[in-house]
Symmetry: C2
Subunit: 556 residues, 2 copies
């Protein structure tokens, strides 16, 4: 079997002007970044306003396990399959973060014959969007510390600066730091910490902004800390919204690339789904919906995380409704949810599978409870036995659920034709009654409880003393009507990463709630979820290199 990077490097890639041309874009609508990437104009949505809006299909998944699900691969493969059926389809994806790429993943651009190209660029610096976000985030930090150092006219309390610096790397040693050491010419000492860039509020803002004006407005209202008398201080108070907008003006433009079958893909914005809202940008999805009759887009991790935030946060900011959902499952992962150890996944185990489908069932119920029709994509792996496939398929059919076996990794779009047909059928014939999981007018506790009980299946929510105090404070400050962005482990429906399957009789503990006023949500932190990952003992980057011809090696 060829590696992803081999397949990618052997693929026929169209010049990006051909892809832009196939979408009917004019010369002024895009700018090239190399021969195979382009940035789309941020004015494109205005220009296309009168076009009909395509159907939006969200791809989500069961709770991820180390066995792998292939959600991005299915998203890409489904997009390719739709085009094989002559359904004009555009894919919308997130940009990968360098942290996981260099740490464990080695890359995140689909896999096998369902990849986006050029995978090397997409997995490395791409068009620089995340670097621009890192820079804007850290420029704000520098300006905050400079303000304090230069006499502090805004009376910012150095103990209450919630704004952290960022790097787009996995770097545990930066989780907690002290800055400003070394005496009077080296700033004012205070505790600080670094998040990974994709967890930055600026990433969320970029992804939720409708246009440049909205971007600036959101940046302006970032609350980065509090004064000595505990009043919030904003970017606008610091006078820095113009500079931050300038630093982000090109990053706001969505990136156009293509898949290995030359299906157009817009890749833009990349927040993690455990510690952030987990969806590509609103601009990318909305532009894709104007350029295609169908948009295939994904949200990170399981339906409890990415999909919930897609449906409760992104659809509100982007003012759109999805039309159908695809839930990706694999037999390997379902077996792990049914109790099988990772080393025994190659063995047929129908019994474990029948236990593990509990996890799938919960996510199906969740999507149904949002009022959305769905199709299950069973993403085939070579070790899956016929008995196992039959077990899952029959179970789904007994539930009245539509299921399609996909082989998009090995076969590209050809391996997703059944899924594509079922998606088209679902979008066009199944009833849709989309609604959010909570109302914005609900109290903060009610909103968190709705997510915990209805989406995670918890029996209740326990708020720490700190969280309770913060809720009161935020309500007093007028932030009570914002949606909630949960920060929770991706490995369990609960906040305990060791509880696989469909945990029952558990409570969710809210440790802390932090305001992302620019992004327009409150982040509720559960368990000990960290906003800066660490590197493993043998990071993936140790296998990376450049060969004699200048080609990337070791990305996968």
């Amino acid at each position: 079997m060829k590696s992803d990077i081999q397949i990618a490097q052997e693929a026929y890639i169209e010049p990006i002007q051909s892809i832009a041309g196939s979408l009917g874009l004019d010369v002024e609508d895009w700018e090239p970044y190399g021969h195979y990437k382009a940035k789309l104009s941020d004015h494109l949505l205005d220009k296309l306003a009168d076009r009909p809006t395509g159907k939006v299909v969200l791809v989500t998944a069961i709770t991820p396990t180390p066995a792998g699900e292939g959600k991005s691969t299915v998203t890409v493969g489904l997009g390719q399959a739709m085009n094989q059926l002559d359904k004009k389809t555009v894919i919308a994806l997130r940009e990968p973060s360098l942290g996981p790429t260099m740490g464990i993943k080695g890359g995140a651009a689909g896999g096998g014959y369902s990849q986006v190209l050029p995978m090397e660029d997409i997995n490395l610096h791409f068009t620089g969007d995340i670097h621009a976000i890192t820079t804007a985030n850290n420029a704000l930090s520098a300006f905050i510390d400079n303000h304090i150092h230069q006499g502090n006219p805004l009376h910012i309390d150095p103990r209450r600066v919630g704004w952290k610096r960022v790097v787009d790397l996995n770097d545990r040693a930066l989780r907690e730091v002290v800055v400003g050491l070394g005496g009077p010419v080296k700033g004012v000492p205070r505790e600080d910490g670094f998040n990974i860039s994709v967890a930055s509020e600026i990433m969320a803002i970029l992804c939720l902004a409708k246009d440049m004006k909205d971007l600036k407005k959101r940046l302006s209202s970032i609350v980065f800390g509090y004064t000595y008398d505990q009043q919030p201080v904003t970017v606008h108070d610091l006078g820095m919204e113009g500079a931050l907008t300038l630093l982000l003006k090109d990053a706001l433009k969505p990136n156009l690339v293509q898949t290995i079958e030359n299906t157009p893909a817009i890749i833009h914005g990349g927040p993690f789904a455990n510690i952030a809202h987990g969806c590509n940008s609103v601009m990318a999805t909305n532009i894709a919906a104007k350029l295609g009759d169908y948009v295939i887009t994904e949200a990170g991790f399981g339906a409890d995380l990415g999909a919930e935030k897609f449906l409760d946060i992104k659809t509100r900011a982007g003012e759109f409704e999805p039309d159908a959902v695809v839930i990706v499952a694999t037999i390997r992962a379902l077996k792990m949810h049914g109790g099988v150890e990772k080393d025994n996944l190659e063995e047929e185990n129908v019994e474990a599978l029948q236990l593990g489908v509990d996890n799938l069932q919960k996510h199906m119920e969740t999507i149904a409870s949002f009022g959305l029709p769905y199709v299950i994509a069973l993403n085939r792996f070579p070790s899956d036995s016929e008995q196992e496939i039959k077990a899952v398929t029959s179970w789904c059919e007994n539930q009245g659920a539509s299921i399609a076996l996909t082989e998009v990794f090995a076969k590209g779009g050809q391996g997703g034709l059944d899924l594509a047909r079922k998606v088209v059928n679902t979008v066009n014939t199944k009833p849709k009654h989309f609604h959010h999981m909570y109302k914005l007018e609900d109290s903060i506790e009610e909103k968190i409880s709705a997510i915990a009980t209805k989406v995670y299946g918890a029996s209740g929510v326990s708020f720490s003393a700190q969280a309770k105090k913060q809720i009161k404070q935020y309500e007093a400050l007028g932030w009570g009507n914002l949606p909630i962005c949960m920060a929770k482990t991706q490995y369990s429906l609960s906040d305990d990463p060791t509880l696989l399957g469909r945990p029952k009789d558990f409570t969710i503990t809210i440790r802390e709630i932090t305001p992302s006023i620019g992004a327009g949500f409150l982040v509720a932190l559960t368990g000990d979820v960290m906003t800066m990952p660490g590197l493993p003992k043998q990071p993936a980057a140790l296998k990376m290199d450049v060969d004699e011809q200048g080609n990337a090696v070791g990305l996968f």
Copy 2:
């Protein structure tokens, strides 16, 4: 008078393929980054090896003052003037760092009618080279800390990690930090600090590498710290040279842009000249010399800093010789060197001017002592009086020196025709006996003394106890034959920034010497020069914005 950004935005800019075409480049030699920027192939030098090599003209300056000299403006203007004289000329410049742009400068791409375009892009993220350097630098830091955290098989002494993290911002609060706080899951605590990215050894490596192979070799030999038994530890020991090369593979490709008069300019690499070696990349200069009959390139700050490092470090790494030097001076700056306060610079003061030329004279002697012919460019400002201009001109003529009045800011290339003619004449008729200021075989003390006494005019050098110890250590480690990169204030020929003009009877104090084994030099730190600038009370960024049409505002 129009602002720089107004002039830039009103200029006629050619599509970058026209500029590439005018240089005889084929389609495979470059990639577009937007419509007006391109990256040149890193294989271009091999391809052009048989072409004749153009003449290299280095632009340097007197000791800078707050009055401004306009070295980049003269460099751009001279390149434009050369092309007006039908001399096929390519300009090679450094990329600006965001730190000073957002801090004080507001931009660094020439000025008036002698600018490089698109100035907004060049002053912001450009093609992402500096972001790639920042990322590679900080990835190494993360891998060092991860190695220590994961059991530390290389026995790295956390107290002896010399490798610092970087941001491309002015951020004094990051000068001294403690990382790894917060307990066992948050790494091993140690003292650390951040430099500005353009002072990173990786920036120096990128600028001195001849090709991808050389880049990897240099990255591999970076010494980032020492073991508990004080043996040096390298990037190769960590197995990380492949990943770092991969992160830098596109940054290694020089960037092609154009001036306001559509003269080709290659802008690549941007180390500061006070704390780093201050020159654009070897690849940019060498490619420019294959594409043009003349290359006009600059080195940062006064001839004591950028030019000395250009002549002693860059020419060795790039294996080339310059053919002539331009020394930029202004009447305003010479008056400051003669004792006039900044507020009184508008007043005619021939007497102060006659004192101030001492500074110019020292730099003329320095260039002559490298065996190079030179021309003085007197960069005209509106406040200069005829008497003052005459005084400087006569003084130069009495010295037998060639001087040209330039008005390239106000008039573009047309204002630099006299300078261009004198440069062409100098290159083609004046004798050249280029040699370095010291031999590599000289001892470390001898090399530093040669620079201090012959280039700065010091009476001697005083080495701190720490520096003496380091010299012994480095000689024992086999690093005694490397060239020296001095870190010294740019505001004085001495290491005391308050001593203007031509200071006499001073000694240079070497506080510390740090090894940049990958870059291939030892950095000698004098005085209290800092490798991370701070922001002023009212940073330039507070005036930056994006207008309704999406254009940059507040860059200058």
